[in-house]
Amino acid sequence: MTPDPQSSRLSGGPGGFPFAPPLPLFLLNPILRRIVHRIAVQNPDMFDRLGPHRHAYFLIDPVDIPFMLYLRPDPEALDFRAVGRRNPPPHAARISGKFLDLLTLMDTEQDGDALFFSRDLIVTGDTEAVVCLRNALDDVDDPIAESVADMFGPPGRAALNALRRAAENAQKRKGAKT
């Protein structure tokens, strides 16, 4: 089996998980379900780009938070939930990166290939499935991050803006280092 995708570039910061939410997963999962259903209703065409990979399970691994996300982007049987790190469920592909990098991808502000070149994004498993998912998410009208923020009204948008600023600062720090 492929080892856990951890590299020196992708380990969590000192002190473990800087974006650790205090929520138990069973509280998080109904919210995630609501989010994915809303996105699916808003963007019915995006599933076409997934072809047969809409039935695949993707493990999305924000390496600096204590849980992972498990997604099946099948409009007939949508599934999106948080799962623990100990025993990852079976998946076709795993996408790992820092939470803020994954967020900027969802915000269509970051280019996935650039993150891959810099080794800030790690893909294992079915590469074709990941490429299709990437293209599907990139072709939505409004960036997914924005749609999710909108669901939570002004607090959601404020949180997104704060995260965007954090992502921008992280980007600048990275630029300064290279």
Partner: protein
């Protein structure tokens, strides 16, 4: 001396959202293709359905942007039907030009749609005045996209000799092979870049992680590179693979390195050479890439034309392997 011609900025789009980003960022023209073998970026999950193309052309035209459709692969002998259908469709949807590589496709456009502009794809690898004159004379080609093997002074000489417009690449993935002739991917994956339209299809690519953080790129049955934990990575194509060979110690980029073309510092020279259009590579990239690169080059070209020093945005983060080159434009010995 002739007045400087303002070159068109020709921008990539792999999805309707990317096309809209390119239009909004100031593209003069967008190039894009269908979801089939007529398109040299025939990757799964990418490209346009006929309905998407129709809507996208409308969006582009409303924004004053042209749409150039890539029919830039070579039909296998006797199987030109799909290419003809895509020409018919493009003409019906109001495309501004078709970018073609194959003479059968060019002849079909010439005979059936004399008002539809033909741009000769880089895949045709036409770089001599004689070759280009042939395409202009026989098929009425209006513009040639030059292979990425010429210096600026060669381009300047060519522009003066040929009776059509010239388009050059200024940014993006950099293939050194004789374009349109590379068979490396067929050898490994069984699929043809030039006829099926896909180099290193994702279904044939695997990335394997080792416990030390290194990553191997596997294409088909071959490992084509292994990147150390701190090394930047490149595309999974054979031409950018690192191989062991007797003549060198360690891994060796036998064909070329993971690196992207970035000609931003050479734009003034290319404009004075009389180039009519600047092409940005990257239909497989995200709309974030399209937005950033198009906006940067829009501002650079506009500044140069206004007689100002262009502000050159730092685009290195978007380049393959996070390395850039001015390629053959600067010197034939660019490697």
């Amino acid at each position: 001396m002739n007045a400087m011609v303002k070159p068109e900025l020709i921008c990539p789009a792999g999805t309707p959202a990317a096309l809209r980003s390119a239009v909004d960022a100031g593209a003069d023209a967008v190039y894009c293709g269908y979801q089939n073998a007529t398109n040299a970026r025939n990757f799964v999950g990418l490209n346009f359905t006929p309905e998407e193309m129709e809507k996208s052309i409308r969006y582009a035209h409303d924004g004053g942007t042209k749409v150039l459709i890539t029919l830039n692969t070579f039909p296998p002998a006797g199987k030109v039907e799909l290419w003809k259908e895509m020409v018919d469709l493009s003409a019906r949807l109001g495309a501004d030009a078709c970018i073609v590589a194959d003479i059968a496709v060019a002849a079909y456009i010439r005979d059936n749609y004399p008002d539809l502009r033909i741009h000769l794809s880089v895949q045709a690898a036409a770089s001599s005045p004689e070759a280009i004159e042939y395409y202009v004379r026989e098929f009425g080609v209006k513009r040639v996209v030059l292979p990425r093997i010429m210096t600026i002074s060669e381009i300047k000489g060519l522009v003066q000799e040929i009776p059509c417009e010239v388009e050059t690449f200024i940014f993006g993935n950099h293939g050194l092979m004789v374009e349109g002739r590379c068979s490396l991917t067929n050898y490994v994956t069984g699929q043809s870049t030039n006829m099926d339209g896909a180099c290193s299809p994702a279904a044939c690519v695997k990335y394997e992680r080792a416990a030390d953080g290194s990553m191997s790129t596997i294409l088909g049955d071959y490992m084509i590179d292994r990147f150390g934990p701190e090394e930047t990575a490149g595309y999974p194509t054979i031409c950018k693979g690192r191989y062991k060979c007797d003549a060198r110690d360690g891994g060796y980029y036998a064909f070329e390195e993971p690196i992207s073309l970035n000609a931003s510092t050479m734009l003034p020279d290319l404009i004075s050479a009389g180039v009519h259009a600047f092409k940005i590579e990257g239909r497989q990239r995200s709309r974030a890439y399209v937005k950033k690169v198009v906006a940067a080059f829009r501002e650079a070209v506009d500044s140069i034309m206004a007689g100002q020093e262009p502000k050159l945005a730092d685009l290195v983060a978007l380049t393959e392997g996070q390395k850039q080159t001015e390629g053959a434009l600067k010197t034939k010995k660019w490697r």
